[in-house]
């Protein structure tokens, strides 16, 4: 996929994210995050931030082929190079996650009883890095196995949100081991790099292949 085309896909995915009225759902999540941040036993104030971020952007991870209704079908008609398109869509997910993390952090941390320490902030960054690519790879798999091509808000969103929390829990285990038990930022970074390599070399081609396979094609007229 050429640079201008890659830019086109990333830019339109982001534009849709910000134009989508569905993002209004972020408001009650942020309110819940603020309440959670006020709880004295929460530990790091970044815990509610990440809960809000990953619940609020669940669909951006787990439904990349159909970010808007019929997107998969429409893009199948166009001369899309699917590996490039999956990379572009995943890059858009990373940017969305970072933007929501920044926005969510500013609001939620403002209401937290204590401002986060420098160590807590660095740990939060390390944690985000360790879970981001595993969640993207898992989301790519869910996008092809359980595509949600229909409306902007779907009944399937609820069980998917639960699945998303489970996936977040599983994706957090390596961080808990490499940092929580072994106290090794180097191992955590090494793991994060390995996850990024897995995403690029395994998840992207697999998703691109599935995007055009007969089992994933939109089931219209069938």
């Amino acid at each position: 996929m050429t640079q201008p085309v890659l830019r086109t896909v990333v830019s339109w995915e982001l534009r849709y994210f910000f134009r989508n009225p569905r993002q209004i759902l972020l408001l009650p999540l942020v309110l819940g995050g603020i309440l959670l941040a006020m709880w004295p036993h929460i530990g790091s104030p970044f815990v509610p931030v990440f809960l809000v971020v990953f619940l609020g952007t669940e669909r951006e991870f787990n439904n990349i082929l159909n970010r808007w209704p019929s997107q998969h079908e429409a893009m199948l008609i166009l001369p899309v190079q699917w590996r490039g398109a999956v990379v572009a869509k995943n890059l858009a997910t990373i940017l969305m996650t970072l933007l929501v993390t920044m926005g969510g952090s500013i609001i939620i941390l403002y209401f937290a009883p204590e401002p986060p320490s420098a160590e807590q902030t660095l740990l939060a960054l390390l944690y985000l890095l360790s879970v981001l690519f595993p969640l993207i790879a898992a989301g790519n798999a869910r996008s092809t196995h359980s595509p949600r091509p229909g409306r902007m808000v779907d009944i399937d969103d609820l069980p998917e949100a639960v699945i998303s929390l489970v996936l977040l829990g599983v994706a957090s285990i390596p961080f808990a081991v490499f940092w929580g038990v072994l106290r090794s930022p180097a191992l955590t970074l090494l793991y994060s790099t390995a996850a990024a390599v897995y995403w690029l070399l395994v998840s992207v081609p697999r998703t691109a292949e599935a995007a055009t396979s007969s089992t994933t094609l939109p089931r219209i007229m069938q």
Binding site: T2, P4, V5, T8, V9, W12, Y16, R19, N20, W68, P69, S70, Q71, E73, A74, L76, I77, L78, P79, V80, Q81, W82, T212, S214, L217, P218, I220, M221, Q222
Partner: protein
């Protein structure tokens, strides 16, 4: 040269309904080809297979003498589609949609702007170019789909019911454009329920019924071909010919409650 060659296409849906039952058809390059049949005859299934939205169970699909694999990007660059149910991005404005599609086809931004302006003017969409597509009427939706289908100057344009829901003025403009497109060497495959339009517009016609091509001929000779097929009956119009070939003569067509 053939623009499309379909060989023994078979497609059965999960419901068990066989949509294509060995469909074989060839569309000559540069022709304005009419593809007609009853609802459920297999037209849309054929078009969706051409578009890569469905895969056939068996059979071959060749475009411009090249086998088509669904993952092959080459053929998508040669094609433009207006589907029965247009697939576009309703949250974009018409201008944004053409910009998005044009960039994916690799058209340079300046050239894309020029073509877009021309298309909006030609299709009488200038005043709605900056409105979101979800505010468009059915006819306007068809028009923006048509604009997106031809913005990259494809060699083959496939239009499934492009004139449905379009006002007479735009329909006339579109028909004239299709004739011009074929005059410039491109191929157009069109389906329509308006058989009179097909007969006047197309150079060649294929009649599909129950997933098979019943008859394919140039428009000039289709009556002779049909007459040879059914015996010595004569047909005054394509509609009469069509009805004779596809109607089920054994089926009683009446509504008993209207006759009492």
């Amino acid at each position: 040269m053939k623009a499309i060659e379909l060989g023994s296409l078979i497609k059965t849906y999960e419901t068990g309904r066989r949509a294509l039952d060995g469909l074989t058809m060839a569309v000559p390059a540069g022709s304005l080809f009419g593809f007609i049949g009853l609802n459920g005859a297999g037209k849309t299934t054929t078009i969706r297979i051409l578009a890569g939205l469905l895969s056939a169970d068996s059979g071959s699909v060749r475009l411009f003498e090249r086998d088509v694999a669904r993952r092959d990007r080459w053929h998508k660059g040669q094609l433009g589609f207006v589907l029965d149910r247009p697939v576009y991005f309703p949250w974009m404005t018409g201008r944004e949609y053409l910009g998005f599609v044009g960039r994916l086809y690799g058209i340079e931004p300046r050239e894309l702007d020029r073509r877009s302006e021309e298309l909006f003017e030609f299709l009488d969409l200038e005043s709605q170019a900056d409105d979101t597509i979800d505010s468009y009427s059915t006819g306007m939706g068809k028009k923006i789909s048509l604009a997106a289908a031809i913005v990259h100057r494809p060699r083959l344009i496939v239009l499934d019911e492009p004139l449905e829901g379009i006002d007479a003025l735009s329909a006339a403009a579109i028909k004239e454009t299709l004739s011009r497109i074929t005059a410039s060497g491109s191929t157009v495959l069109i389906t329509s329920h308006v058989l009179d339009t097909i007969e006047k517009l197309c150079t060649e016609i294929a009649l599909i019924h129950r997933g098979k091509v019943l008859l394919q001929s140039t428009t000039a000779t289709i009556h002779e071909q049909a007459e040879a097929l059914v015996g010595d009956r004569q047909f005054s119009s394509l509609e009469e010919l069509f009805l004779d070939l596809v109607s089920d003569r054994q089926k009683t067509r009446h509504l008993s409650f209207l006759e009492t």
